[in-house]
Every structure is written in structure tokens, then in C-alpha cells.
Symmetry: C2
Subunit: 105 residues, 2 copies
């Protein structure tokens, strides 16, 4: 997703975030671009509820901070899960090799 | 990470995002909070370079959009990778079961 009109072949999708309309350009499908915008809108409303007197730019920055936190946490969890699955597969292969070793005659 | 001082036991960490200082509260370590802030700062500077006349709140919102896009894409990739690993493990187990079946006497 990009701001500006560098790539004229990209689709222009109108979305609404925190009550303001934006035209987003992206290579992705319209539905996906709307999903992204709706995610940001929801997160901004969550921050806005907790901080009623905050100015809009700070609210948006804190929203970006919260989304980044969620992103980095999820990345960490996936990496741990991947390591776990990798270890499990290796254990499985090792135990099978041992079985075959025992069965030799 | 939260805005405000709802949880007084949480650590307060001063960070700088796009030239402005913020005090972020979070349960996480100081290093992690600074990593999150530095990620947002970097992304805001990237958007700022492409859109020089944009107002700060819009720049921050578009940054949040870009981070969300990266987050959702990475989540999608991890899910696909997990499905792939899951299928590979099942195939491995099935082929081993077949081997054992052949070895019966």
C-alpha cells in the first residue's frame, strides 16, 4: 500500500479511518485494502476511548505503536511455534530411525 | 503497551517518535518498548519522505495503515507456512505407516 500516485496502474480505494476519508492505492484487492483500513479505524477508536483529550496526530502515533506491539508479539509467537514444530519433526524422525535400527536383522 | 496511567506498576519509558518525545507505559522491558517506538519512527520517516506536504495526523494514520499491511501479510505467510509444515508432517507419518505395513511378517 502506498501513499501518492507513483504507480498509476494501482487501484484507488476509498476508505474511512476515524471519520476521515482517504484514497489508498495498492496492488491488493479492494476487500483487503478495506480490511486494513478497518483494522486501523478500530484500533484508533480503542485508543481514542482511553485518551479523550489527546490530539489526533498523537492518537494516530499511539495507534501505530499499539499495532506494532501486536505485530512484533505475533511474529515472536510464530517464530517460537515454528522452532517447536521443527524440533518436534526432528524428534519424530530420530525416533523412527531408532525404530528402524532396532528392526535390523 | 497502554496510554495513560491506569496501571501504576507499569514501567514508564521515554521514547522519541518523529521528533516528539512520548512516555509509554508497558509491562514489557524497556528495550522492547524502545524497539517498538523505533519501528514506528522509522516507518513514519519512510512515509514522510514520500509525502512531504502531508499533515502529521494523516502521516501517522498512513503509517499505521502501512504497519497493519505488513502485519497482516506476515500473519498470512506464517499461517500458510504452518499449514505447509502440518501437511508435510502428516505425509511423513503416513509414509512411515506404509513402510511399517510393508514390513509386517
Amino acid at each position: 500500500m502506498n501513499y501518492g500516485n507513483r504507480e498509476k496502474t494501482m487501484k484507488l480505494v476509498e476508505v474511512e479511518i476515524y471519520g476521515k476519508k482517504y484514497k489508498l492505492r495498492g496492488e491488493n484487492e479492494e476487500g483487503y485494502i478495506k480490511e486494513v483500513a478497518s483494522f486501523v479505524d478500530k484500533k484508533m477508536k480503542e485508543v481514542g476511548k482511553r485518551a479523550k483529550t489527546i490530539q489526533l496526530s498523537d492518537l494516530a502515533i499511539l495507534t501505530a505503536v499499539n499495532i506494532t506491539h501486536e505485530y512484533l508479539q505475533s511474529r515472536k509467537e510464530y517464530k517460537q511455534r515454528e522452532l517447536f514444530l521443527d524440533r518436534k519433526t526432528k524428534d519424530l524422525i530420530e525416533s523412527i530411525e531408532e525404530e528402524f535400527e532396532d528392526m535390523k536383522f
